[in-house]
């Protein structure tokens, strides 16, 4: 699954692809391939971030039983 892909590795790959596209005049097919892979990586990374954010929200929600954006600050003030 997408979740299994290491996020940092995907980001690195994406960056590398962008650099490759930026640096050189790649043939159309190769450029297309790179672009496709880049978009996919971008989507994977985005998805991963979505999941992570969701998880964070759930975790914070779990703890309080209800959603709280700043969970601890409010308690002792």
């Amino acid at each position: 699954m997408a979740a299994k892909t290491n996020f940092e590795q995907s980001m690195k790959k994406l960056e590398k692809i962008v650099q490759e596209l930026e640096s050189g005049d790649l043939p159309l097919e190769e450029a297309m391939q790179k672009f496709e892979e880049g978009i996919k990586l971008s989507r994977i990374c985005s998805k991963k971030l979505d999941e992570t954010e969701k998880k964070i929200t759930l975790l914070l929600q779990d703890q309080k039983g209800n959603v709280s954006e700043k969970p601890f600050i409010s308690e002792d003030k």
Binding site: M11, E53, I56, F72
Partner: protein, 448 residues
């Protein structure tokens, strides 16, 4: 005094030293009575005076530690009895009495007996601190050896009731003076010791003369107190009254009331103390919990939630994706432009111009071809026409126009040159200048 006659020559110091030894060894403690004179108390707080009788006098001192315990004021002319020891002050060769105890004179033999017993018991160790038992902090049963009547028992009970209402108090009634009192007290002590079911014994009696207190100064009572297994508090007489029982008891209370106070703690105080400490315990445990909750909250608050990181990464991804797309689209556009250029050029250079050229050339040739054809045919035709004209001009029948005619046979078309070459009735044709005649030979004339 006789020692001076010996041959031995002493130094003053040696002599004084030996005298000091002799004196102090011979009179470790003596009871002495006499009249006070020349009484002084310098700044040191030690009491200096002279004790005299009708014939003699002796220098005396009572050090501050002891004289503070005096229950009366020393003054010149007062007759006293005291307990002291002889001491020689070597540097000056003077001797003096160092008093430990002083009291006004007149107690007499009882007092001496008292002191003697006290000395004996002291040397036996009955008063040693090592035998003093600690009192129970909170006794549950208190045995009171006293007279069941009178103010003493009443006071004690009142105080105990006030301090700790729910205590078991057992009164062992005894005579506290007079005949049998000593025996009863001893019996009471022995009984309690035997029963051994009480936490503490209070021996109590109100104040009185030395005689009144004699039971409590008896050796039997002292030994009974000493051998009791249960801690004993003596509360005999007033604050200034000391008895042997006081010395041998585990604790001496100055008065019976004081004994009650000493033996029985205040329940209210204890309760308060217990409650205080209990509430402190509670408050401490809650504080402990609160403290740890606070620490936990602080630490938990510092638990950085990675949302910020997620947002940063989102921005980065967006940036990368934008760059990716922009670059890629640019490159595609470039390729598209390039393609369009070549495509346009291809269209511009489509071979239609070839066709136009070739068409023109072809048309040229084709025109030429047809023109040549026409010319050729016209040439031929005119040649024919010319020949035809010339032919017609040479037409042998041209003489007919001048009136000649040509006769020819039918058929055969042989020209008839002679008449007899024909026969009558033969059909002939006559060519005229214009037209033909068909004739029938009717007559033949031979001109020859």
């Amino acid at each position: 005094m006789t020692i001076e006659k010996h041959h031995n020559i002493y130094t003053v110091s040696q002599l004084n030293s030996e005298i000091k030894f002799l004196l102090e060894d011979s009179f470790p403690f003596i009871w002495i009575s006499g009249e006070i004179s020349n009484c002084k108390m310098p700044g040191s707080g030690h009491l200096y005076f002279t004790l005299k009788d009708e014939n003699s006098q002796i220098s005396c001192v009572m050090f501050r530690g002891q004289n503070q315990k005096l229950k009366f004021e020393l003054e010149d002319g007062l007759s006293i009895t005291g307990l002291g020891r002889i001491s020689l002050y070597e540097p000056r060769g003077t001797y003096q009495l160092i008093f430990e105890f002083l009291e006004p004179k007149g107690i007499g033999a009882l007092q001496i007996a008292f002191e003697q017993l006290k000395d004996r018991l002291t040397s036996e160790g009955l008063f040693d601190d090592k035998y003093k038992r600690p009192l129970p902090f909170l006794p549950q049963k208190i045995s009171l050896i006293t007279s069941p009547t009178g103010a003493v028992v009443h006071d004690i009970l009142k105080i105990i009731d006030r301090r700790f209402p729910n205590l078991f108090i057992e009164i062992v009634p005894v005579k506290v003076q007079g005949e049998n009192s000593e025996k009863e007290i001893v019996q009471a002590l022995e009984l309690l010791s035997t029963l051994n079911d009480t936490d503490i014994i209070i021996m109590a009696r109100g104040g009185g003369s030395l005689e009144d207190l004699s039971a409590f100064n008896s050796e039997n009572v002292a030994r009974a107190v000493f051998s009791t297994k249960i801690p004993v508090v003596s509360a005999i007489g007033h604050e200034t009254d000391f008895t042997i029982s006081d010395f041998v008891a585990d604790l001496r209370a100055p008065t019976p009331s004081a004994a009650a106070e000493l033996v029985v703690p205040s329940k209210d105080e204890l309760k308060r103390r217990q409650e205080d400490i209990f509430s402190k315990l509670k408050s401490n445990i809650w504080q402990y919990i609160e403290k740890h909750r606070y620490i936990l909250a602080q630490v938990s608050k510092s638990l950085v939630d990675p949302k910020r990181k997620v947002q940063d990464l989102r921005l980065k991804i967006d940036d990368l994706t934008n760059r990716l797309t922009r670059i890629f689209l640019n490159s595609i556009n470039q390729k598209h432009e390039q393609f369009k250029l070549w495509n346009d050029l291809l269209f511009i250079n489509k071979p239609l111009s070839y066709i136009a050229n070739l068409n023109e050339k072809l048309a040229n040739n084709t025109d030429k071809l047809t023109t040549l054809n026409t010319i050729y045919l016209n040439n031929k035709r005119s040649l024919i026409r010319e020949n035809k004209g010339r032919l017609y001009a040479l037409n042998p029948t041209a003489i007919l126009k001048r009136g000649y005619s040509i006769t020819r046979t039918i058929p055969g078309a042989d020209i008839v040159k002679t008449a007899h070459s024909v026969s009558i009735g033969q059909n002939l044709e006559v060519m005229l200048a214009k037209g033909l005649l068909a004739v029938n030979v009717q007559k033949i004339t031979d001109s020859s």
